[in-house]
């Protein structure tokens, strides 16, 4: 069993708060992604868990054991750095066997485990080669093998694919994921790429400014973002957020979006919660892929095309009206002319309301 429990974990450097009271539970054998922009505290969290830096406050527990004050060399975690930190002056074999040799394992045992690992990672023919000058793909496997061979229950990876060519990234993601399943490890993976997190993680912890924003499965953070940050960060492009005021007309609730138009809310829970809270200024959120162009709908929102990106299988249409902007994702081949006004109809049951002041989603427990 290898669970990780972070309790009110904080770290500050002088007056700068890098991490603020993080509460996070990682389950046994879970692939947990720490996702957020640069400076959000994800790397700080990793370093705290690994033991490279000391916490300012809070606790770190592995399987219920308090390791907050345990030195880095004794925590028993595997770590993969962003640039892999391969011992380039040693052979591949010596890299892989390093951890075992530090534990003074018997020579035959070391060789046996190195062979097994090399077979698993298809590094067999390279074992006696010098580790410098090898391709990134191989270095990644060596880095993982080197840390995995001492069989740590917990594995930490700090943006290990950021140096990898975009084309290889997809292949290496799959490899990493299957290795995690194979080794049955609890893995924490740091990334700034939401697509990577969505692809690989069992659950995602979204962070910003040193504060945890939301934890959930990929579909949970995608479908039910708890605040505007998560809504805007997940998805490519992120959720559209339009400013408006709630209004009530003839028993129905809607959002008045100024020059763009008025959008009726049909979804019950959010409308009811909004009415109850008596809020006025809201943000109406809907995802770019949940919009249809609906000329026949009188209630459609009117915005003009300002930019078109044709990216293979999808077309991202940028629209604006007044000071507000919306992006729409359409299928390959969608015809859009610059300056044309399009009547947009967001899918009714996929809209979300956010309180403009607090940024929190309305109608969420």
């Amino acid at each position: 069993m290898a669970t990780i429990s972070l309790q009110r974990l904080s770290k500050h450097f002088g007056t700068f708060s890098a991490l603020h009271e993080l509460d996070l539970q990682v389950r046994d054998q879970e692939f947990m992604a720490l996702l957020g922009p640069s400076g959000c505290g994800k790397s700080t969290t990793m370093n705290l868990v690994a033991g490279g830096i000391d916490a300012s406050a809070g606790k770190i527990l592995f399987d219920g054991r308090d390791v907050t004050d345990v030195a880095m060399g004794r925590r028993g975690v595997g770590f993969v750095f962003q640039n892999y930190a391969i011992f380039t002056h040693m052979s591949v074999r010596d890299n892989l066997s390093f951890g075992l040799r530090m534990r003074r394992l018997h020579r035959t045992e070391v060789d046996r485990r190195v062979s097994a690992m090399a077979d698993l990672l298809q590094l067999g023919p390279l074992l006696d080669q010098r580790a410098s000058g090898l391709s990134v793909n191989i270095l990644q496997r060596i880095a993982i093998g080197r840390s995995a061979i001492v069989e740590p229950a917990i594995f930490l990876l700090d943006e290990p694919l950021s140096n990898v060519d975009a084309a290889f990234r997809a292949i290496m993601r799959t490899e990493l994921k299957s290795l995690q399943r194979q080794f049955k490890q609890t893995m924490i993976y740091v990334t700034h790429d939401q697509l990577e997190a969505m692809t690989m993680a069992d659950r995602i912890a979204v962070m910003d400014g040193g504060v945890l924003q939301q934890v959930g499965t990929p579909l949970e953070v995608y479908n039910e973002p708890r605040n505007v940050f998560v809504a805007g960060f997940i998805g490519s492009p992120g959720m559209n957020l339009l400013e408006g005021r709630l209004y009530e007309e003839g028993g129905a609730i809607g959002v008045d979006l100024g020059v763009i138009g008025r959008q009726r809310l049909t979804e019950g829970k959010q409308a009811a919660a909004a009415r109850r809270a008596g809020l006025a200024d809201v943000l109406l959120g809907f995802r770019p892929e949940d919009i249809t162009v609906d000329a026949g709908n009188p209630g459609a929102l009117k915005m003009a095309v300002s930019f078109v990106e044709r990216i293979g299988h999808r077309v991202v249409v940028h629209l604006d009206a007044g000071a507000q902007q919306v992006k729409m994702v359409a299928r390959n081949g969608f015809a859009a002319t610059l300056g044309a006004a399009l009547p947009l109809h967001p899918q009714a049951d996929r809209m979300r309301l956010f309180d403009k002041a607090s940024g929190l989603a309305i109608g969420v427990e």
């Binding site: 880095m72 770590f79 750095f81 002056h89 534990r103």
Partner: protein
């Protein structure tokens, strides 16, 4: 706000030469300097070679050009190979080398390792540590001469430490004089090793050290498996530099002991100096010089090759 067009003048067109043309032009322009350098380097070498086959000394009254009149074939070479005093000085030089270079290396490495961490007064100690290197060697010689006097500071400290009155005449005893000379050299040149090794140590990637720690390596393990292999090339260079220099040890030593007492601190340079300036056997000395050149090259060239191969 749109971005206005701004016209900037374009630099004048200059036709660029090809690579080979540039190399040839460079060769031609530096030819005078190259010839001068060649002359300066080769002329003494040729002259030495010439007079090494003769019996010429300035005492004969004629210019060295006429040395051919005193041809003695390989007599000087035989002398070099058999002269007891010469070989004694060579042995002594080696003793100094074998004691001093490893000591300087280990001390320098130890201090450099200390300096990779942080401690109170680091900058201050850094400046102090570099001072010995900056002292003029002759001045250092005189300084240690004073230190090692019977009534001098070294004995005073030893007296304080042992409780009894210590009045060793360091520079009058054969072995102690050699020890004193070696101490002086270690004092002066450890800082050089320290500097070179510190530069090498700072080049060891921090993340690899962290990774080693994570994999369970303690301080000694990290030193052995990560640090030392990575600085091995710099280590070799530092040792090569220092070995070649120490072979030529002269100024500090000469001021301290003049090669004495007797010939107990007479290293090869001191010996050559005496034979040249006091005995004036210049053709014999020329032979020795050529001999040393060959030996030092045999050490230097492999070391340089190893450095060049370090990519």
């Amino acid at each position: 706000m749109s971005v206005e067009a701004v016209k900037a003048p374009i630099a004048p067109v200059v036709v660029q030469a090809g690579d080979a043309e540039i190399r040839r032009l460079g060769l031609r322009l530096t030819l005078p300097a190259q010839l001068l350098l060649a002359f300066i380097v080769l002329f003494p070498l040729v002259m030495e070679l010439y007079i090494s086959f003769t019996d010429w000394t300035p005492l004969v009254g004629k210019n060295w050009v006429w040395a051919y009149r005193y041809w003695n074939d390989f007599d000087n070479y035989v002398e070099v190979l058999t002269n007891a005093r010469l070989w004694g000085s060579i042995v002594r030089t080696f003793v100094v080398m074998i004691v001093c270079v490893p000591t300087e290396l280990l001390l320098g490495l130890g201090i450099a390792l200390l300096f990779t961490g942080d401690f109170f007064g680091k900058r201050f100690f850094y400046s102090i540590l570099l001072m010995p290197m900056m002292v003029v060697p002759a001045v250092a010689g005189y300084m240690f001469f004073m230190l090692f006097q019977s009534g001098g500071p070294v004995n005073a400290i030893l007296s304080a430490l042992t409780g009894s009155q210590v009045a060793i005449a360091w520079l009058s005893h054969a072995n102690l004089a050699l020890a004193a000379v070696m101490i002086a050299d270690i004092w002066q040149w450890t800082p050089l090793m320290f500097l070179i090794l510190l530069a090498g140590l700072l080049g060891v990637p921090e993340d690899q050290l962290q990774m080693a720690t994570l994999l369970g390596a303690g301080r000694w393990a990290r030193l052995r498996h990560i640090v030392l292999p990575r600085i091995s090339r710099i280590l070799v260079i530092a040792v090569a530099i220092r070995t070649i220099e120490i072979f030529k040890i002269f100024d500090t030593l000469y001021i301290m002991t003049s090669g004495g007492p007797g010939d107990s601190t007479e290293t090869i340079s001191v010996y050559i100096y005496k034979v040249t300036m006091q005995d004036l056997e210049w053709s014999y000395v020329a032979t020795i010089a050529l001999f040393i050149l060959v030996v030092l090259s045999a050490v230097a060239i492999p070391a340089i090759k190893r450095f060049g191969a370090a990519r």
